[in-house]
C-alpha cells in the first residue's frame, strides 16, 4: 500500500516536473506581455512630457516674439505719449504668461516623475534576481542531498520563483492602474484640451511673427524707393519656408490624444507594439515641431 502511494506520488511529481514548467512558461509570457504594456505606456508618457515641455517653452518665446512684432509695427503710428504705457502693460501680461506656462511645465515634471516611477516597477529586475537566488540556493541544497540533486524539479525552481516575483510586479502595476485610473484619464483629457489651446495660441503667435516680419523686412523694403538690403532675398526665403512649420503646431493635442487612447488600451489589456510605435511617432512629431518652431520664433525677433 505504502509502495503504491509512493509510486503514485512519484508519478505526480514527474507530472509536476512536466506541467509546472509549461504553466510557468505560459504564466511568465502573460506576465511579461502585461509588464511590457506598462513599460511602453510609461516610456511614452515620459517622452510625451519631455516633448510637451519643449512646446510650452516655445509657446512663451513665441508669445513674446509676436507681441514685439506687433509693437514694432504699431509704434510709428502710436502717439509718443502712449508708447511707454503700451509696452509696460504688455510686459506685465507677458510676465504673467511666462509664469503660467512655467506652472504647467512644473506640473509636467510631476507627471514625468509618476511615469518614471511606473517604469521603475515595470523594469525592475527583481524576478530575475529572485530566480538567480533560487538557483543558487537549490544548487547549495543539492550539494547536501543526493535526492534533491536528482530531483526532476531542479530546473523548475528558478522559473517558478521568477514567475511568483513577476506576478507580484504585475499585481503592483495592476493595483496602481486600478487606484489611479480616474486621475490618469482626467489628466490625459486635460492635457489634450490644454495642448489644443496652447497649440492654437502658439500657432497664432508664430503666424503673427512671420506676418510682421514679412511686412517689415520683405514687403515694405521692396515697396520703398531705397535700395534693397543685402539680406533681403535670404530673409524672404526664411519667412516663406518657416510658414510651413507654423501650420503644424497642433501636434501637441494630437500627441496628448494618442497618449489618452494608449491609456485606454492599457486598461483594456490591448496595448500592443504597433500602437506603441504609432504613439511614439505622434510624440516625435510634437518634438520635431517644437524644434522647428525654435529657429522660426527667433527669426521673428
Amino acid at each position: 500500500m505504502r509502495r503504491l502511494e509512493s509510486q503514485s506520488l512519484a508519478g505526480a511529481v514527474r507530472a509536476m516536473a512536466v506541467v509546472v514548467p509549461l504553466l510557468a512558461a505560459g504564466g511568465a509570457a502573460g506576465c511579461a506581455a502585461r509588464t511590457t504594456q506598462f513599460h511602453d505606456f510609461a516610456t511614452a508618457g515620459v517622452t510625451y512630457v519631455k516633448a510637451s515641455d519643449a512646446v510650452l517653452e516655445e509657446a512663451g518665446t513665441a508669445a513674446i516674439g509676436a507681441d514685439s512684432g506687433i509693437l514694432i509695427s504699431a509704434r510709428p503710428n502710436t502717439p509718443v505719449g502712449e508708447r511707454a504705457n503700451r509696452v509696460l502693460a504688455a510686459n506685465k501680461l507677458l510676465k504673467d504668461r511666462v509664469a503660467i506656462l512655467r506652472d504647467i511645465r512644473r506640473h509636467g515634471r510631476v507627471l514625468q516623475r509618476y511615469f518614471e516611477a511606473l517604469a521603475s516597477i515595470a523594469d525592475s529586475k527583481a524576478p530575475e534576481s529572485a530566480a538567480k537566488a533560487a538557483e543558487s540556493a537549490f544548487g547549495a541544497l543539492a550539494g547536501l542531498s543526493a535526492s534533491i540533486k536528482a530531483s526532476p524539479l531542479a530546473p523548475v525552481v528558478p522559473g517558478l520563483t521568477k514567475l511568483i516575483v513577476g506576478s507580484f510586479k504585475v499585481r503592483i502595476l495592476e493595483d496602481e492602474l486600478h487606484k489611479r485610473a480616474d486621475a490618469i484619464a482626467a489628466e490625459l483629457a486635460l492635457q489634450e484640451a490644454a495642448f489644443a489651446k496652447v497649440g492654437e495660441v502658439l500657432q497664432t503667435d508664430l503666424r503673427v511673427q512671420l506676418n510682421t516680419l514679412e511686412s517689415r523686412q520683405v514687403v515694405q523694403p521692396f515697396a520703398a524707393d531705397a535700395a534693397l538690403p543685402k539680406e533681403w532675398a535670404q530673409v524672404r526665403e526664411q519667412v516663406i519656408t518657416a510658414s510651413a512649420a507654423s501650420a503644424a503646431a497642433s501636434a501637441g493635442a494630437r500627441a496628448a490624444g494618442a497618449l489618452r487612447q494608449a491609456f485606454e488600451a492599457v486598461v483594456a489589456n490591448r496595448f500592443d507594439r504597433a500602437a506603441f510605435t504609432s504613439l511614439l511617432d505622434d510624440i516625435g512629431e510634437m518634438l520635431t515641431i517644437a524644434e522647428q518652431l525654435a529657429p522660426a520664433a527667433r527669426e521673428g525677433e
Binding site: S6, A10, V13, A63, A66, D67, G69, I70, L71, S73, A74, P76, N77, T78, P79, R86, A90, L93, L94, R97, I100, D103, I104, V110, L111, Y114, A117, S120, I121, S124, A126, S129, A130, A133, A134, L141, S147, I148, S151, V157, T161, V165, I172, E176, R180, A183, A186, E187, Q191, A193, K197, V201, T204, N211, T212, E214, S215, V219, Q220, A223
Partner: protein, 112 residues
Amino acid sequence: MEMIALYSKILSQLNETIVAMTEPAFDALMQAGTVEQRRRAARELLDVQHARLVLGNMVLADIAARLKENERAFLDGIASLDEALERLEDIEAILGTVSTVLKIVGRVVTLL
C-alpha cells in the same frame, strides 16, 4: 456657458482677427492710408493684442489650475510606487519567496 469656455471662444476669434490684421496685404493697405487711418489701425491692432494676452492668460491659468487639482493623485501614486519598488526589490522578501519555493520542493522531494 461656463465663463472660461466663453473666454476661450472669444480668444479663438481674436486669434483669427490678429492674424488677419497683421497680414502683409492688410499692412500694405494701412501704409497707403491717411495718418488718421494708420493711427486708428495701430490702436486697434494694439487693443486686439492686449485683449488676446488678457484672455489667453485667463484661459491658460484655468488650465494650469485644473492640472494642479489633479496633482495630488500623482504625488500619492509616486509615493505608493516608490514604496512598492522598495518592497519588490527588498532582498529579504526575495529570499523569503525563494525559501518558500524551496520548502515546497523539499517536501515533494522527501515524499519521493
